[in-house]
Amino acid sequence: MPLFDRKDKSRYATFTRRTLMMGGAVSAVMLTLGGRLYQLQILEGGEYATRAEDNRVNLRLLAPLRGRIIDRFGVELANNRRNYRVLLIPEQAAQGVDQALDTLGRVILLTDHDRQRILRDVAQNKKFVPVTVADNLSWDEFARINMHLPYLSGIQPDVGETRDYPYGASLSHVLGYVAAVSPEDMKNDDDPLLNLPGFRIGKRGIEKTFDRQVRGTAGVSRVEVDAYGRVVRELGHTPAGAGEDIYLTIDEQMQNFVTQNMGDRSAACVVMDVQNGDVLALASTPGYDPNLFNAGITTPQWKALTADEYKPLLNKAISGNYPPGSTFKTAMALAAVDNGMADLVVNCTGSIRLGDHTFYCDAWRIGGHGHVNLPRGIQVSCDVFFYEVARRLGIDKMAQAAHAVGLGSPTGIELPGELDGFIPSRAWKLARFGIPWQPGETLVNGIGQGFVLATPIQLCMLAARIATGKAVVPRLTHQVGATLEPHPPPPPLPFSDKAFALVREGMTLAVNAPGGTAYGWRISQPGLAMAGKTGTAQVRRISKEERARGIVPESKLPWNQREHALFIGFAPADNPRYAASIVVEHGGARNEPQVELARDVLLFVQQRDPSRIRPAYPMRAADAGSVPRGRG
C-alpha cells in the first residue's frame, strides 16, 4: 500500500491551509483579548481603580466624648463614666448563639426579654457584627465575665463611655438628660453622628440647649473591608473632636441645699445673684433620675413618671405658670408711686364695693387694716389698698408696668420649654371672650389673681429687679468651651428711685416688722435680714354663700384645691445681693412652707456667699463679683 497516495496529498494540503487559517483566527482572538485588556486597564484603568478603592474602603464614624457640664466651682454635674458591657459576635460563638447565651446566663442575669432582643439583633445583622448583650454592668459583673471568658466563646467584654449625672434628681431639671436619637431628631439635624448606633443626644435642659456644643464632632476611621463588610484593617484615622465643656452659674451645694429643703413637696425655687443674674440654684421638685433615660427607661418607670400628679418631668421653675397672687402687688406698687400714689392712704374696712360686686380683703373678719399707706400695704398685703391702686391705674398702665418688670414674656434662660407667663390686656380679653374688659377684672388682676400668670423664674427676676432697680436677666451659663457668654451690664428700669425705695421698704417691713405677713420667719442674724413679699393664689372660686357660711379651712380641702403658696424676696434687705422666688403648689394660705424655705435659702446663700468666691475657672472680673477674694 503506497504511503502517500494522491488523496492523502490533497487532504494534507487542505489540512495545512486550514490550519493556517485557524492560526490566523487564534491570533485575531488573542489580539482582541489584548485590545480589551488595553481598554480596561490602560484607557479606563483610572476609573476602575477608583471603583476598587470605593469597594474596599469604608468610613466608620467614631463617637466623640461628650463635653462635661461643670458648676461654678468646678464640680462636674454631668460627665462620662466607663460603661462596662458585653458583646456577642455570632460567628465566633463556637457552640452557637443559644449555647453562648446559656453559658453567659449563668454568669450574669439575662432575662427572657433580653434574650429575645439579642436573638432579634443577631438575626438582623451579619454574623460578624457584634451585638450588645448587656451594658451598664457593675464592676463585679464585668470582672466575673472576664474571669469566665476562656469558655465563653463569642462573648467579648467591652468598655465604652456613657453619660453620668452624679447628682441625680437634684439637678435633673437644669441638666436635662441624654437619650437615644428619635426619627424626629434626625429630621432637623444632618449630623452623621445621629446615625451611629447607641448615640445619645440631649433631650432636655442644658443638655438640649447646648447639645451641638457638648456633642463634639465625629471622628472618622478609614477601614479596609472585604466583600462582606468585615473590617480587615484600619487605613487612616481622624480622631473625634471632643465636645465643649459647659460652665454653669449653678452652685451645686446651693442647689443641693434648696432641693433638700423643698423635700417631697411639689414646688419650684430659683435663687439668683441680683447683680449679674447668675442663677445659683434652679430647682423643681419632685425631680427624676436623668441616668434612667440614658440607659433606656422601662415602660413602668416612664408610666410612673407621667402618672405622678406632682409632675416630676415638668420643670416648674420655668414651665410652671402660676397666678402670682400678692407677689404681683410689688410690681403694681412701683407703678403706683410713679403715677402719683406715693402718699396714697386708703382706709381698709375689709372690703370694697365696685358696681354690684363686693371685693374682700384678707382682713375682712377683723374689720380691715384701717388706714394703709404704700409700704404698709405691702407689709400686711392689704388687698383693699391694691384694689384702689388698680382702680386708679387701670388695666393699660398695670399691663405696661408688669411688662416693664419683665412679666408676660420669657426671661430667655438657657433652658428649653420656658413659658411666657401672662399679662392680660383689653384687646386680648375682647378677642378671647368677645366681651370687653370689665372694671372688676382690673381689681382682681391688681392683686395677682384672675388672668395674670407668672413663672417662678420670672418672679425671681422680679425680686432681683426690685432689689437693684436694674433690668437684671437670669442666666445659667458663664462659658461654653473657651467662649465667654456675652453679658452686658443691665440697663436701668423705667421706674423712679423713690418707687424702688418705697417698695423695698414695704418688703422689708413685711418680713421684719410685727404684723408683716412673713414676720414669723425673719432672719435675726445681724446684717443678713431679708426682705420679701408673700403671696397665695386661689385655684378655686370662693362663692358668696361659702363666705357667709364660713370658708372651708385649707386643711380640709383636697390637695389639688388648696391655694398655691408663693414668696419672692432678697437679702440682705439693706444692700441686696441675692434674690429668691418660691412657689409651693397647693401649699396652703398660711404662708408656712414657702416662707420658711425662703428664709433658710436666703440665710444659707448669704452665709455661703457663692458670688464672692472666685469661680474655679477664668471669668471676667466684672462678673466675678464686686469684691473678688479667695474662698474663706
Binding site: 489540512f15 476602575y48 476598587a52 480587615v232
Partner: protein, 383 residues
C-alpha cells in the same frame, strides 16, 4: 534531533529515545504558566499555600508524570484506544445523568470510590481522539459526503447534548467547537460550512427558549451588568473592576484588593486570571497571553510536522481545545461574553481539569515524539 528522523521511521524508538524526543521547551513553557497559576493561588489565599496552591502544585507534578508517560506511548496505541475511550466517556456521561453528584446546581461529578470524575472533561479528549481516528480514514471528498458526515456529527452531538443537560453550557460549547474544528481541518466543504453558520445565526432566538433561567439571566446580565450590579451582575462588574484597577503594571504581587478581600467570586477557580490582571496589570496579563500563544504555536507546529493524518488532527484538536478554554475564560472575565463555568487551563484551581489538560499535552507530545510514524489511511493503527 535531525539525525534521527530516518531511523525513527524505520523502527520503534526505545523509551529513553522517546523521552529525549519530548519537546522539553514546551514542557518548560507549560511549567512557567502553571507556576504563574501557583503564584496567583498563593496570592488569593492571602499569601498562603493553603488551601489551594499546595494541592495544585502536587497535582501539577502528577500531571507532569502523566504527560511524560502519555508522550512515550506510541501514537498508534492511542489510535487503537480512541473508540473505546470515547465509548467509556459516553458511558460515564450517561451515568452522571443517572447517578450524578449534585454540585452547584449542575450534575457534573461522578464518584468512583475516592475519585471524583468529571466525565465532560474526559469527553473532550476522547472526542478529539475518536474524531481524529475517524477522520484519519476519510479523504477530503469523503468528509463532505452527507451519509459519512452523519457519523462525526453524531459523535459530536450526543455528548454535547448530554453535557448541555447537566447543564454545562460552557463545556458543551467547547465540545461542539472542538468537533467542528476537526471537521473543518479535515476538509469539510464550504458548501456545508456557510449554510450551517447561517442556520446557527437564525436558530439563536429558538435556542433562547431552551436555556435555563439562570443561563438566560447570565446572558441578560452580561448585556447590561449595571441592571443588577449587586446580584447576578456582581461577577462581571467585580471582575472588570479587578482587571481594570490593575492599570498598566498592576498593584503588585499579593496586593490585589479585589481578590484578597473576597469581592471576586470563585476567585481561586474560574476567576483566578482576574488576579493576574489586578496584581500584574496589562503587561502581566499580556505576558500570560503571549505564553499561551507560544504554546498554541508549538501545538500547531507539532500538528503540521506530523506525518499521519491522525497525528495532525489529534494535535490540532488538542491545541484548539486548549485555546478554546483560554478564549472563553479570558473573554468571560473581561466581560466580553456571559459568565460560563470554564476554568483557565493550567491556572485555575481544580483537580480533574489539571490532570486532563496535562493528559492532553501528553498526547500532543506523543504526536510530536512519533511525528515520523506514518499510518496508512485504511489502517486501524496497528503497530
Amino acid at each position: 534531533m535531525s539525525s534521527r528522523p530516518y531511523a525513527a521511521a524505520r523502527r520503534t524508538l526505545s523509551l529513553s529515545e522517546r523521552l529525549l524526543e519530548v519537546n522539553w521547551v514546551l514542557v518548560l513553557l507549560i511549567t512557567v504558566i502553571a507556576c504563574i497559576g501557583f503564584a496567583m493561588l498563593y496570592s488569593v489565599a492571602g499569601g498562603n499555600f493553603h488551601p489551594w496552591a499546595l494541592p495544585q502544585i502536587l497535582r501539577f507534578l502528577v500531571g507532569l508524570a502523566i504527560l511524560a508517560g502519555v508522550a512515550t506511548v506510541d501514537i498508534r496505541v492511542w489510535m487503537n484506544v480512541a473508540y473505546p475511550a470515547y465509548a467509556f466517556s459516553l458511558l460515564l456521561l450517561v451515568a452522571v445523568e443517572v447517578a450524578g453528584h449534585v454540585g452547584l446546581g449542575a450534575q457534573r461529578w461522578l464518584e468512583l470510590g475516592p475519585l471524583e470524575i468529571q466525565p465532560s472533561e474526559l469527553m473532550k479528549i476522547s472526542l478529539v481522539l475518536a474524531l481524529a481516528r475517524y477522520l484519519h480514514g476519510q479523504s477530503v471528498e469523503d468528509v463532505s459526503r452527507p451519509l459519512k458526515l452523519l457519523i462525526p456529527l453524531a459523535m459530536i452531538g450526543i455528548p454535547a447534548v448530554l453535557v448541555l443537560l447537566q447543564p454545562n453550557l460552557g463545556t458543551a460549547t467547547i465540545i461542539v467547537a472542538d468537533g467542528l474544528s476537526l471537521l473543518f481541518l479535515a476538509g469539510l466543504s464550504w458548501w456545508w460550512i456557510v449554510p450551517a453558520l447561517a442556520g446557527v445565526v437564525a436558530a439563536i432566538p429558538v435556542g433562547w427558549h431552551f436555556l435555563h433561567d439562570y443561563q438566560k439571566q447570565r446572558v441578560l446580565t452580561f448585556l447590561n451588568p449595571a441592571s443588577d450590579a449587586l446580584g447576578a451582575g456582581w461577577n462581571i462588574s467585580q471582575a472588570e473592576i479587578a482587571i481594570g484597577s490593575g492599570g498598566a503594571w498592576g498593584k503588585g504581587f499579593l496586593k490585589g484588593t479585589q481578590s484578597q478581600l473576597n469581592f471576586l467570586p470563585e476567585k481561586h477557580s474560574d476567576f483566578i486570571a482576574t488576579s493576574i490582571g489586578e496584581e500584574f496589570g496589562f503587561f502581566g496579563f499580556v505576558f500570560l497571553l503571549v505564553l499561551f500563544s507560544i504554546v498554541i504555536a508549538y501545538g500547531i507546529r507539532i500538528a503540521m510536522s506530523s506525518r499521519s493524518q491522525f497525528g495532525r488532527l489529534l494535535a490540532m484538536g488538542l491545541t484548539l481545545n486548549f485555546f478554546f478554554y483560554i478564549m472563553i475564560n479570558a473573554a468571560m472575565i473581561m466581560g466580553l461574553i456571559p459568565v460560563v463555568g470554564i476554568p483557565m487551563p493550567l491556572i485555575s484551581y481544580g483537580g480533574t481539569a489539571m490532570l486532563v489538560v496535562m493528559f492532553g499535552f501528553g498526547l500532543l507530545m506523543s504526536v510530536h515524539v512519533h511525528r515520523q510514524v506514518e499510518i496508512p489511511r485504511g489502517s486501524a493503527g496497528i503497530i
